[in-house]
C-alpha cells in the first residue's frame, strides 16, 4: 500500500563528498523491497516535485529505512541539512524491486555504479545466491563498500584507478575473469547499456534499475517512461512507466 506521510530522521552523515547517508524511522520499512524507492519532498515550497531516492537498506526490526543519495540540486541539498529528530515527508514504497527469487541457487553479479550502488546493499542482504558484488566509483571514496563486504565477495573499480581495477565495472569483470548466470544492476545509463550488451552476448538474464525525471511517482503523469521492445500492457504503446512498471526491468525488454 502506497502512502505519503511525515517520518523522522534518525541519523545522517556525509558518506563521501556530496554523498549523504540517512536513516529514517518509518512504517514503510515493513513493506520495503530491495530495488524499490521512496519519494522525498522538500520543505521549500518553491520546489514542488518529490525526489525519487532508492532504498539502500532496511533495519532488522523493519522500522527504519536507509537512503544514500548524492546532492544533485536544491532539493537534495536541503535533505542533506536534516539532522536526527527532524521531520521528513516521504511517499512509498514505490516501484517493483529486483526479482531476487529468480537468483536462488545461481551465480550472480550484483553491480552498482556510483549513486547506483545503494540499492545493491539491501539486495545483497536478502539474496540467496552465489554473490559477486561489483561496484564502480569515481575515486577512492568507497561509500557502502564495508557494508557490502558482509554479504559477498566485493570487486571494486575506480575511474581514477586509486582502488581496484582502473576503469568501470565492466573492466573489473574482465580483469578478474568473472562469470555469472544472472546480473542485477543499478547505475548510470552507459553502464546499464554495457550490461545489456554483455548479457545479450553471454545469453544470460540481466535485471537493471532505471531512473528518469519523475513528477507523480505513482504512474499517473506518464513523465518517466522508457522505450520498450514490446507494446506495454498499460500504455499500449512502446513505453513503460519507470516508477510503477519499473524501476527494475529485464534488460532485453527495454530499448536504452
Amino acid at each position: 500500500m502506497k502512502e505519503k506521510h511525515t517520518a523522522r530522521v534518525l541519523s545522517q552523515k556525509e558518506a563521501a563528498p556530496m554523498i549523504f547517508d540517512m536513516w529514517i524511522e518509518t512504517e514503510l520499512a515493513k513493506q520495503a523491497l530491495p530495488g524499490q524507492f521512496i519519494c522525498v519532498y522538500t520543505k521549500d515550497k518553491s520546489a514542488l516535485l518529490p525526489r525519487p531516492i532508492s532504498i539502500c537498506e532496511v533495519n532488522e526490526d523493519k522500522t527504519a529505512l536507509r537512503i544514500v543519495y548524492r546532492i544533485a540540486g536544491q532539493g537534495t541539498k536541503e535533505f542533506s541539512s536534516y539532522q536526527a529528530g527532524d521531520s521528513i515527508a516521504i511517499l512509498g514504497t514505490l516501484g517493483n524491486g529486483f526479482p531476487k527469487d529468480k537468483a536462488v541457487g545461481k551465480k550472480v553479479f550484483l553491480m552498482g555504479g556510483g549513486i547506483g550502488v545503494p540499492p545493491i546493499l539491501q539486495l545483497a542482504k536478502e539474496m540467496d545466491a552465489e554473490k559477486q558484488i561489483i561496484v564502480g566509483y569515481r575515486d577512492g571514496n568507497l561509500f557502502l563498500k564495508e557494508d557490502l563486504d558482509k554479504y559477498g565477495r566485493v570487486y571494486v573499480a575506480t575511474e581514477d584507478g586509486s582502488v581496484g581495477t582502473k576503469g568501470n565495472v565492466m573492466d573489473a569483470i574482465a580483469a578478474e575473469a568473472l562469470e555469472a548466470d544472472m546480473i542485477f544492476a543499478c547505475g548510470p545509463m552507459p553502464m546499464l547499456r554495457a550490461i545489456k550488451r554483455y548479457a545479450e552476448d553471454k545469453g544470460i538474464d540481466a535485471y537493471i534499475s532505471l531512473e528518469e525525471h519523475m513528477a507523480c511517482g505513482v504512474g499517473a503523469c506518464l513523465g518517466c517512461v522508457v522505450k520498450t521492445s514490446e507494446v506495454d500492457h498499460h500504455s499500449h504503446v512502446h513505453n513503460a512507466r519507470i516508477c510503477t512498471d519499473g524501476p527494475v526491468f529485464e534488460a532485453k525488454e527495454v530499448d536504452i
Binding site: 502512502e3 505519503k4 518553491s46 513528477a215 507523480c216 505513482v218 499517473a220 498499460h234 499500449h236 504503446v237
Partner: protein, 302 residues
C-alpha cells in the same frame, strides 16, 4: 449546506475535479483518494488511436511549478472504453473524458464512441495542449479554428461539451466567445502556459521537447485573472484551474466566476489534496454561513 454544482444540466456532488493528465483515469490515485468524494474525475486525454507521446525528459521542476511535455501519450479509445470507463463506473463520481486529436475527424471519432457510454457525464475537448505538433493547440489559438472544431464536435456529441482553452493567446475572452457562439456547453481554463528551462551546467534544454506546459502554484494569479475575465464575457459555465493547491485557492477561482475547479500539478505534491480541498470548501462554507456553493460563484465584490 449544499455543495452541489451544475454545469450544462449535469449536477456534480461538489465542485472539486481532477485536471486532465495529472490523475490518469483515477486508478493510480484510488490508493490515496476516495474517488466517491470527488465531484468528477477528468481523465487523461484520449485519442482515436494510441499515441506514444514525446521523448524523455518529459518533466522538469521550475520555481513554484513544473513543466511537462508528455505529448498526450494515451492507449487509444478502444482500451479506454474497455478498461478505464468500467473502472470509473465503480465509483459514485462524475466522469468527464478529455478528448484529443490531430484532425477534426480524430476528435469526432472519439466523441462518437463516447456517446455510446451513458456513464460519461461530459466531454472535455482538448484544443490547447502545447506539447503536440499537430492538432490540439492548432485548434485553440485562432478564434475561427476554435469555432469550427467546436461546432463540428457539437454536432456529434451526445454529452455536453467543455472546450478547454489555452492561456497562450492574446485575449482568452475572444476564444471563449468563439467557443460559446459555436455551441460549447462549458469551458475549462486554463491549460498550461508554454515555458522553457535550460540546464546551464549541461547547456541543454531540460525537456527533450525544448518547450513544455507550465503548471503549479506559480501560475495561479494568471489563471484567476483569466477565469474572471472569461466569466464576464460568456454565459456558459467555467471549470477553473491553474495552480490550485488548497481550498482557499479553489474558492478564489469560484469567487472569480468558476462553477467548478480542477486540481492538477498539486496531486503530485500531495496525493490527498483533492479530498482535503473538498473538506476545506465545506469548512469555509460553514465558517461563513454559505448555504449553497452556487452562492459563491462569481461572488467577488466589484
Amino acid at each position: 449546506m449544499n455543495m452541489q454544482t451544475t454545469l450544462a444540466g449535469v449536477t456534480f456532488k461538489n465542485p472539486v475535479m481532477t485536471a486532465s493528465g495529472t490523475f490518469g483515469s483515477g486508478m493510480e490515485y484510488a490508493e490515496f483518494v476516495d474517488l466517491n468524494k470527488l465531484g468528477a474525475v477528468v481523465t487523461k486525454g484520449v485519442a482515436n488511436v494510441p499515441w506514444p507521446g514525446n521523448p524523455t525528459p518529459r518533466v522538469a521542476e521550475v520555481y513554484g511549478g513544473m513543466l511537462n511535455a508528455i505529448g498526450l501519450q494515451n492507449p487509444g479509445i478502444d482500451v479506454f472504453m474497455e478498461r478505464d470507463i468500467p473502472f470509473l463506473k465503480q465509483y459514485d463520481t462524475g466522469i468527464i473524458v478529455n478528448v484529443c486529436g490531430k484532425t477534426v475527424e480524430d476528435y469526432v471519432a472519439v466523441v462518437e464512441r463516447l456517446g455510446e457510454e451513458s456513464a460519461v457525464s461530459m466531454l472535455e475537448i482538448n484544443v490547447s495542449c502545447p506539447n503536440v505538433k499537430e492538432g490540439a493547440i492548432a485548434f485553440g489559438q485562432k478564434a475561427d479554428a476554435l469555432f469550427d472544431i467546436t461546432r463540428e464536435v457539437k454536432k456529434y456529441a451526445k454529452q455536453p461539451i467543455i472546450m478547454k482553452l489555452s492561456p497562450n493567446v492574446t485575449d482568452i475572452t475572444e476564444m471563449a466567445r468563439a467557443a460559446e457562439a459555436a455551441g460549447a456547453d462549458a469551458l475549462s481554463l486554463i491549460n498550461t502556459l508554454t515555458g522553457m528551462k535550460i540546464d546551464v551546467h549541461k547547456r541543454t534544454f531540460a525537456l527533450a521537447n525544448k518547450t513544455g506546459g507550465m503548471s503549479g502554484p506559480a501560475i495561479k494569479p494568471i489563471a484567476v485573472r483569466m477565469v474572471y475575465q472569461t466569466a464576464k464575457a460568456v454565459k456558459i459555465p467555467i471549470i477553473g484551474m491553474g495552480g490550485i493547491s488548497n481550498a482557499e485557492d479553489a474558492i478564489e477561482f469560484i469567487l472569480a466566476g468558476a462553477s467548478a475547479i480542477s486540481v492538477g500539478a498539486m496531486n503530485f505534491v500531495n496525493p490527498y489534496c483533492t479530498m482535503e480541498i473538498v473538506q476545506g470548501i465545506e469548512d469555509y462554507m460553514r465558517r461563513y454561513n454559505v448555504e449553497n456553493l452556487t452562492d459563491l460563484i462569481g461572488a467577488v465584490q466589484e
